[in-house]
C-alpha cells in the first residue's frame, strides 16, 4: 500500500532522512520507534507532503505521490494526526471534526460524525465547546477523530501518547488497535516504544535518519539492542 524508497530530506544542509525505505501493507499496524531527533516526525511530515524531500520516492496504492500536494494526499487517503494534537483551539469540537472531512462530500459527513462520536463518546457532550478547552486526552481523541473524518486508508499517528497521564495512554493505545481495520492501515510513531511495538504487526527502528532495524513487533521487543536502547531493559 505504502512504498517508501530511499527517501531523503534535509533541513538546510543538515540531512534529516538519509535514504529511508519501508512499506506498510493494507490493514497493517506498523510502528516506528527511535530516539528524539532521529527523524520520526520528519518522516511523517514528508509522507504527508508538508516537508520537502530531496531524494527518493513515495508510492501509495501504486501511485507515485512523491511530489503530490498535501491536499492531494489527503484525498488519496493519507491522513496524519500531528504531534501535539494541533486542534483548532478556538473552533468548536464539531467544527474541528467537520474540517477533517473537508476533502469529502457533504453527504458522507454526517455518517462519519456519528461514527466518530460513537468511538469517542466524551466528545459528544462537548461538541459545541471550543476545542482549546478540552483536556489533553480529549484533545488527542479529537485530533484522532478529526483525522478519521477524512476516511483514511493510511493513518499516520505522531506521538499520540505524548504528554498524557499513564491511565490515558493505555486508553489511547487500546483505541489505536481498534482503529486498524480491513481498509485502514496505521503507521504509528511513539516515544513509548514498548507499548507501540506491543500492538504493532511490524516495526522499524530509526536512528539519526536511517532505518537500522526492522522486524515484527514481537521480534523487536525481544531484540537485545532495542531492549537496551529504547525499553530501558
Amino acid at each position: 500500500m505504502l512504498r517508501v524508497e530511499k527517501l531523503e530530506s534535509r533541513y538546510g544542509r543538515i540531512p534529516a532522512l538519509k535514504g529511508i525505505s519501508l512499506r506498510v501493507e493494507a490493514g497493517e499496524l506498523v510502528a516506528l520507534v527511535g530516539a528524539n531527533g532521529a527523524g520520526k516526525s520528519t518522516l511523517l511530515r514528508a509522507l504527508s507532503g508538508v516537508q520537502p524531500v530531496s531524494g527518493g520516492s513515495v508510492a501509495f496504492c501504486g501511485e507515485n505521490v512523491t511530489a503530490a500536494t498535501p491536499e492531494a494526499r489527503v484525498r488519496l487517503g493519507i491522513v496524519q494526526v500531528p504531534e501535539g494534537r494541533q486542534v483548532f483551539g478556538p473552533l468548536s469540537v464539531e467544527d474541528n471534526l467537520r474540517l477533517g472531512a473537508y476533502r469529502r462530500g457533504r453527504a458522507q459527513i454526517e455518517a462519519s460524525l456519528a461514527y466518530v462520536y460513537g468511538l469517542f463518546p466524551d466528545l459528544v457532550e462537548r461538541r459545541a465547546q471550543p476545542a482549546g478547552n478540552l483536556s489533553g486526552g480529549q484533545q488527542q481523541m479529537l485530533a484522532m477523530g478529526r483525522a478519521l473524518m477524512a476516511r483514511p486508508r493510511l493513518l499516520l499517528l505522531d506521538e499520540p501518547s505524548m504528554g498524557l497521564a499513564p491511565r490515558l495512554v493505555a486508553g489511547i493505545f487500546a483505541c489505536i488497535t481498534k482503529l486498524r481495520g480491513d481498509d485502514t492501515a496505521i503507521f504509528l510513531v511513539d516515544q513509548n516504544a514498548r507499548a507501540a511495538l506491543a500492538i504493532a504487526d511490524r516495526g522499524y527502528v530509526l536512528e539519526t535518519g536511517s532505518i537500522v532495524l526492522a522486524g515484527t513487533g514481537a521480534e523487536l521487543l525481544a531484540d537485545q539492542a532495542v531492549r537496551s536502547a529504547y525499553l530501558g531493559l
Binding site: 494541533q86 483548532f88 483551539g89 478556538p90 474540517l99 473537508y102 482549546g132
Partner: protein
C-alpha cells in the same frame, strides 16, 4: 441629544463604516498569512477610480461598481499569486515590504492609466438630506452604513456557517494542521486576497460620493483602516468592525469639539496608544490553550 452631537455621531458612523470595511480587509489577509497588506488602501482607490472611469464610459452606476469590485478582486488575486506566493517561505517582514512595493506600483499605475485629478461619484440616490434627531443625514451615508452592515452579516455567516469559511479560520489558527486535513493553504491565500480587495474596492465606491476619490486616496484610507484594525485587535473580524466604528466616531467628535485640524492625527494617536498600552486591541486574541 443636541443636534450638533447627533450630527457628529452620524458622520462618525459613516466614515467609521468605511474604516471597518478596510480594516476587515486587513484582518482577513492577516489571518490567512500573517501579512499586513499595505496595498489594502490601493484597493479602495481602485474601487473608486475604476467606477468613475467606467461611469464616464457610459455604463450604469450599478454595473460600473460591480465591474470595479471585480477588477479589484482580480488585482488582489494577482498580487497574491505573483507577488506574495512566489516569496512564500520568506519572513513576514519581507512579505509586508512586498505589499508596500505593490501599493506604490498600483498608485503609479493609477496615475498613469487614469489621471492625477480629483473625481467625484454622484450620490447613489440623490442629495436631498434626511432630518434625523435634529441633524441632517445625506442619503449616501445610509448607503455606506447599510451596505457595510449587510457585508458584515454576510462575512459573519461565511466564517461561522460555511465549511469553506471555517477552513480559512482553521488555516489562521493552525496552518500545519489545516494542511494535514487537506485544506489548500495556497487557495486560502488567494481567496483571502481577492475577498479583501473586493471589500476595499466596495468601501472606495461607497465613500467616493462623500469624500471624492483620486489616485492617491488609498494612502490615508489604508492607514486609517490599519489603525482601525490595530484598535480592534489585528486578525479579529468583530474587532475590525468595532475598531472602525470607534475610530470614525473619535475622529468625528474630535474634529467637531476640538479642531478639525487634528482629524487625521486622531487615528494615529489612537494607534500609538493601543500599541503601547494594549497591543492586543479591543477584541484581540487572548491566547489560552491547554497543551
Amino acid at each position: 441629544m443636541s443636534g450638533e452631537l447627533a450630527q457628529f455621531l452620524l458622520s462618525g458612523l459613516t466614515v467609521g463604516s468605511i474604516y471597518a470595511l478596510v480594516a476587515l480587509g486587513f484582518a482577513i489577509i492577516y489571518n490567512a498569512s500573517h501579512v499586513i497588506n499595505f496595498a489594502q488602501g490601493e484597493f479602495v482607490m481602485i474601487g473608486g477610480m475604476a467606477t468613475v472611469s467606467l461611469l464616464g464610459a457610459g455604463l450604469p452606476l450599478a454595473l460600473a461598481a460591480a465591474l470595479a469590485v471585480a477588477l479589484a478582486a482580480l488585482i488582489g488575486l494577482a498580487l497574491a499569486r505573483f507577488a506574495v506566493q512566489p516569496a512564500r517561505g520568506a519572513s513576514v517582514v519581507t512579505l509586508i515590504i512586498i505589499t508596500i512595493g505593490a501599493a506604490i506600483l498600483l498608485r503609479g499605475l493609477a496615475a498613469l492609466v487614469w489621471d492625477k485629478r480629483i473625481h467625484a461619484l454622484p450620490a447613489f440616490s440623490g442629495d436631498a438630506p434626511i432630518a434625523v434627531a435634529g441633524a441632517t443625514l445625506a442619503p449616501q451615508s445610509l448607503w455606506v452604513i447599510g451596505v457595510t452592515a449587510l457585508i458584515v452579516c454576510a462575512l459573519w455567516a461565511f466564517f461561522n456557517r460555511t465549511l469553506n469559511g471555517k477552513a480559512i479560520l482553521a488555516v489562521s489558527h493552525n496552518r500545519l494542521a489545516a494542511q494535514l486535513m487537506g485544506i489548500s493553504v495556497r487557495r486560502v491565500l488567494l481567496v483571502s486576497f481577492a475577498l479583501s480587495a473586493a471589500l476595499g474596492a466596495l468601501a472606495g465606491i461607497l465613500v467616493a460620493p462623500i469624500t471624492f476619490t483620486s489616485w492617491d486616496v488609498g494612502v490615508m484610507l489604508g492607514l486609517k483602516g490599519f489603525a482601525a484594525a490595530i484598535l480592534g485587535g489585528m486578525g479579529s473580524g468583530p474587532g475590525a468592525v468595532l475598531g472602525g466604528l470607534v475610530l470614525g466616531l473619535l475622529e468625528s467628535l474630535g474634529a467637531g469639539y476640538l479642531s478639525s485640524a487634528y482629524k487625521d492625527a486622531i487615528a494615529f494617536i489612537v494607534m500609538l496608544a493601543v500599541l503601547m498600552l494594549m497591543p492586543g486591541g479591543l477584541l484581540g486574541a487572548r491566547a489560552a490553550e491547554r497543551v
